[in-house]
């Protein structure tokens, strides 16, 4: 029971800032992010100019922040059309935008 509770607390309750950084790859660039950082935030931290280009080629970036607008679609570990604002960075995650 205690292990169960502990796992839950570390997973779901306040992330501790002292935890080790996670390394992800954004368009080939290696980036260290704090645990629980979203992929959308990783794009911003990597100074990626845009997450997708629109039908007419206009640059778009995360807009609604909560999985509604679909502007933040990126590829994660080869899976296309993942919503960057809904996914958390995981160790060794490979994130790429159309721009790459």
């Amino acid at each position: 029971m205690l292990t169960y509770l502990n796992a839950f607390l570390t997973n779901f309750l306040m992330p501790s800032p002292s935890k080790a950084f996670i390394h992800v790859r954004v368009n080939g660039q290696i980036l260290a992010v704090a645990p629980y950082t979203t992929v959308a935030a990783a794009l911003a931290l990597a100074k990626i100019q845009y997450s997708r280009s629109s039908v007419q080629g206009m640059p778009r970036v995360p807009f609604c922040g909560m999985g509604v607008c679909q502007e933040c679609r990126v590829s994660i570990n080869g899976l296309p059309h993942m919503l960057a604002c809904m996914e958390l960075c995981q160790p060794e995650m490979n994130i790429s935008t159309e721009a790459s």
Binding site: F12, P35, V61, G65, M66, I76, E87
Partner: protein, 440 residues
């Protein structure tokens, strides 16, 4: 893959969903909490790398962790309901699976009303609550100049979060009139808890211009800065510059799951009785999806729905909801959209972001369907979740019932790839850590 059976399914792990789960848990029935986000909390209680602890949320999560009859499916969205008591769920990194429930509590929450204006697709422009969610997720705003605009008390909370993360909030622009703002403030006296909450924004208000009667008219990018043109009700224009503009015109309920299930709704929310039961027996709705009313109403209705769904007595819970409803009414009266925002912007403004359709391309249509067929508006990835709300406001177009899948889904999910091994099924509550495992 085997289908999963549960007694009570709860869709959404925000304040309403978590409270419903906690209210239903002592009944001993099997409860499955399904949530789109990777971490529970919904929007207002969103967790992230730098967010502060929220006692109300953390207490609930700790209590829920002690119930063996609670299971979690986080990072999971409902994509269809193909028959009564059935839900088709998808975890985007994994696969789909089926859940059969006896009772269902919809706590799907709300999204922002995001209205088009000239330049709203420019990078640097986000929703208001959208910016708050992005910041909480770790998007840096340190040392950035930010303008927050739109309507409602949420703007203050967004400004507060932005400042905590090192941004300079240049201005908060509220579309409602200063008279309405005054009446709202006066009305808060009847809600001491809310007044106390508002007090924490006093330092912010002391140092940030909070301008009523004003909205963002246009934004353009110039030398890596955003040039913002604002308009007041009497037509005065002002030019501001900043790094980010966050605009949101309040909240609208998320109705797609309810519509897909066949529950009766209005644009204001899912229709429910005093026990939060929808038009379909055994399906309950709580929180913002059953009518926008703030966190207290979400907690109150979540508790009623959780008790009712598990066959417990709801009498004491009803009182709590009554006070919260009064506040909701005050909020709706005070932040009603002004006339200038109820008419579409200039014709060359992008209306549908997914398909790059302009206002001019849809304005001559007579119905939503007509507009879709002629311009492809609302037919892109978001399926009209953004422009549909604007279309209703401008032209009073009804969107009808969404067909399954209710959101973008993988083909494999729709084919119900039954032979594939179910990698997470009922043990989804561990989705937060073992995602790396799934790369194989």
């Amino acid at each position: 893959m085997t289908a999963q059976d549960t007694d009570i399914a709860i869709l959404g792990a925000g304040p309403a969903g978590l409270t419903a789960a906690l209210a239903a848990a002592p009944s001993g029935q099997r409860i499955l909490i399904i949530d789109e986000q990777a971490l529970p909390g919904g929007q207002i209680w969103r967790q992230g790398p730098t967010t502060a602890s929220v006692p109300a949320r953390d207490r609930r999560l700790a209590m829920l962790a002690q119930y063996p009859n609670i299971q979690w499916a986080s990072g999971t969205r409902m994509i269809a309901s193909l028959k009564p008591g059935h839900l088709l769920l998808e975890c985007p990194t994994d696969r789909a699976w089926t859940v059969y429930y006896k009772t269902l509590v919809l706590a799907s929450g709300a999204r922002e009303l995001l209205l088009p204006f000239c330049g709203w697709t420019t990078p640097g422009v986000t929703g208001a609550g959208g910016l708050q969610a992005l910041i909480k997720g770790g998007t840096p705003v340190y040392n950035q100049d930010i303008i927050i605009a739109g309507s409602g008390p949420l703007l203050l909370a967004v400004a507060h979060t932005a400042r905590q993360h090192g941004a300079r909030v240049r201005a908060i622009l509220e579309q409602t009139s200063s008279a309405a703002l005054l009446r709202f403030t006066a009305g808060l006296v009847a809600h001491p808890g809310k007044l106390l909450e508002a007090a924490r924004f006093l330092p912010l208000l002391a140092s940030t211009p909070y301008q009523a009667d004003t909205h963002v008219h246009a934004v353009r990018k110039q030398n890596e800065r955003l040039i913002v043109e604002t308009r007041t009700r009497n037509g005065t224009t002002e030019i501001l510059d900043c790094d980010r503009v966050a605009v949101g015109y309040g909240l609208i309920p998320t109705l797609e799951p309810a519509l897909a299930l066949g529950c009766h709704t209005t644009p204001q929310g899912i229709l429910v009785g005093t026990d939060q039961q929808t038009s379909i027996t055994g399906i309950y709705a709580a929180g913002e999806c059953a009518g926008i009313g703030g966190v207290n109403l979400a907690l109150a209705t979540g508790r009623i729905a959780g008790l009712a769904a598990s066959g417990q007595d709801i009498t004491t819970a009803l009182r709590q909801a009554h006070v919260a409803r009064h506040f909701a009414q005050l909020m709706h009266r005070s932040f009603a959209l002004g006339a200038a925002l109820r008419i579409p912007p200039d014709g060359d403004t992008i209306f549908c972001r997914c398909e790059d359709v302009t206002i001019a391309a849809v304005a001559s249509a007579r119905t939503w369907r007509d507009a879709k067929l002629h311009s492809r508006c609302g037919m892109g990835a978001c399926q009209g979740r953004l422009c549909g709300a604007a279309a209703r406001l401008y032209w009073n177009w009804d969107q009808g019932t969404p067909r399954p899948p209710i959101g973008p889904a993988r083909l494999g999910s729709l084919l119900l790839d039954n032979d594939a091994p179910n990698q997470h099924g009922p043990s989804c509550k561990t989705t937060v850590t073992p995602r790396a495992d799934r790369q194989s």
